[in-house]
Symmetry: D5
Subunit: 87 residues, 10 copies
């Protein structure tokens, strides 16, 4: 189940701890995409989790979470999408 | 080059004309992802275009464009992303 | 999995069709609570659904959906809550 | 009488003092529900109090109150709700 | 129990039906004060009701309610107020 | 002449200095009402002053003024009010 | 006593009725200044009135009032101003 | 050419340096009016300058400029104004 | 003197009348730049005018002005710019 | 490809490091225009870059970037513009 999470943090995001944690989640398939919003401190992530609780757990364990502003949107597949699984 | 475009339109999005147009762009690789924001009239699209002009052209030719509220964010790859091409 | 959905519609909400549809969902356990925000046209609903797609389906099939402004918040259990299942 | 109170605090909410205070109110029936908004520092509480003064007293005595942003909505029963007491 | 309700309606508020209804509530003690916000279409009312449900009932029965934007604040006595009953 | 002033201050309002100052104004008839907005740090005051300058003077001399966010609305009597003087 | 009133109306403001009414008030000294905000439909007026009630009366009798968005700020003299009467 | 500039600063504005600087500009005719917004930390100034650059220079040299929030509106004469020069 | 004006209109901007009018101003040097904000109905224009009154005149005579939302920012040269005239 | 970037920083922008960096980009053709928004701490820049990634790189390497609020708009040529390349 997909969630779009925009994370804004006024610190250089790609610190070792943050990078390692997020790459591990990406490899596990929980974190499908991670883009930087050009010219800002924001990043857009597409998470694929079992339920809300897992989203809460994964995001709140980001090392930078205490310094982040986050906004979340629950996504679901669109009947016009040509992707089967919409990963 | 990726852009995230959120499109809100108070009409059932998946009308034939709209669906055909968007699926053609998806097959062409210009429109990577199309999700519905659950419980709302908004959709999130990830476009992959040559430049701003192409983005303007593709989105403004959506049949529903005159009835849409859109907000665009230019994306770029994030140093923590494990995806090479970040499609 | 719980979602809080605030639904604002400038029409008398409890029209027969709307009432029947929402009460059926309540009996089925999908819609736990439905309160009116005093002195306004807003209602707060607590939904218990399988995933985002089901939320999208249930809410967008409300007869008044085309006339509604909605805002959704994904909820999860709080470690301080004394309720086991947090219904 | 029900109030929905959203409480946002940039500190780990479930500190012992906070947890004990809120669980005591929940057992007393004053605080019906306590959910976490997934992926954020916000919590949603449903309070059942005698009047506004009691709401003011209960919430302002939360140990974290000085660090909280709160927004309150007075709720009342909805004619479409199937719950008698709407707890 | 007091509520401050700001009511904005783009119609001349003091139409006979509206005036009669509001004056009856004022005489009954349910509606303590009614002021006009100078130079605007807004009015501020101080209601004294039993509970949220009564507030909902009194305000939603205003003839102009369907055309009104309302915002409500639950009030309670302030320890610095010299008024006993704070009417 | 009446003004509604909402005063928000993140400090316990009823400190001796603040209380004494506000009660003196209340006794003098300059400050008709003082309510607390339940569950928040805001207070609503109804001032009765000669002119804007007096409002500026009375409010800016509140001990907590430097820490306050204020918003002011000029009020005037409403033709539907049953109160003569609308105190 | 001075009030700054910004009036925005999507109609050509200087229609005969509007012009006559406003110029009469200007000659009477009630309306000190009337400027156009360049490149918009907004106008800024500085009114000099006895009290809030007079402000309400003068502005609400503008022929275009029903089509106007207004925002009002009560002004008072500034200790740094070199103007005695601050007209 | 007139500009309306609203300046908000959480410090007592009329400190000697600030007062002297602003009064000098007022005497020079560059700064026509300076009012206090009652009950707040905001002031409204009407500047008469040659061009944008001069506005930038005059305002940014206010001693308190680094602590100020400013919002500027370019004004021009209104065809309904009875003032020739609209000072 | 430069002004940045953002013009949003929900109509195809480049209608003959609009195009002719704006191109005439561009040739006259009054309108330096005109860009489209990609994927939206907004355009950004950089105007070079004598004073505010001329800005008001030029923009309010755009055929689509009655249907436009505009926001204006007065620009002035930046000490870091390498352009002499900053056209 | 053009981007309009508004950069607001509460520090004197034209510090040597910042000035040198921005002038080098201007000479290279990457940064077409740099204006100051009169009477504020904001600057408007028009960048001409290969893609979003280059925008991100150029702007985030501004010495003051950590202290900046930025908002970016992707621009594209307007069919009414008389400029061929729209630099």
């Amino acid at each position: 189940m997909l969630f779009q999470v925009e994370m804004t943090v006024k610190l250089p995001l790609s610190m070792p701890a943050e990078k390692a944690y997020s790459q591990e989640l990406q490899r596990s398939g929980k974190w499908h995409h991670l883009w930087r919003v050009a010219d800002s401190y924001s990043n857009v992530g597409i998470f694929d989790v079992k339920d809300n609780a897992e989203l809460q757990e994964l995001v709140s364990n980001l090392p930078f979470f205490p310094y982040m502003e986050t906004s979340v949107k629950p996504l679901c597949s669109n009947s016009s999408s040509i992707r089967e699984d919409d990963s």
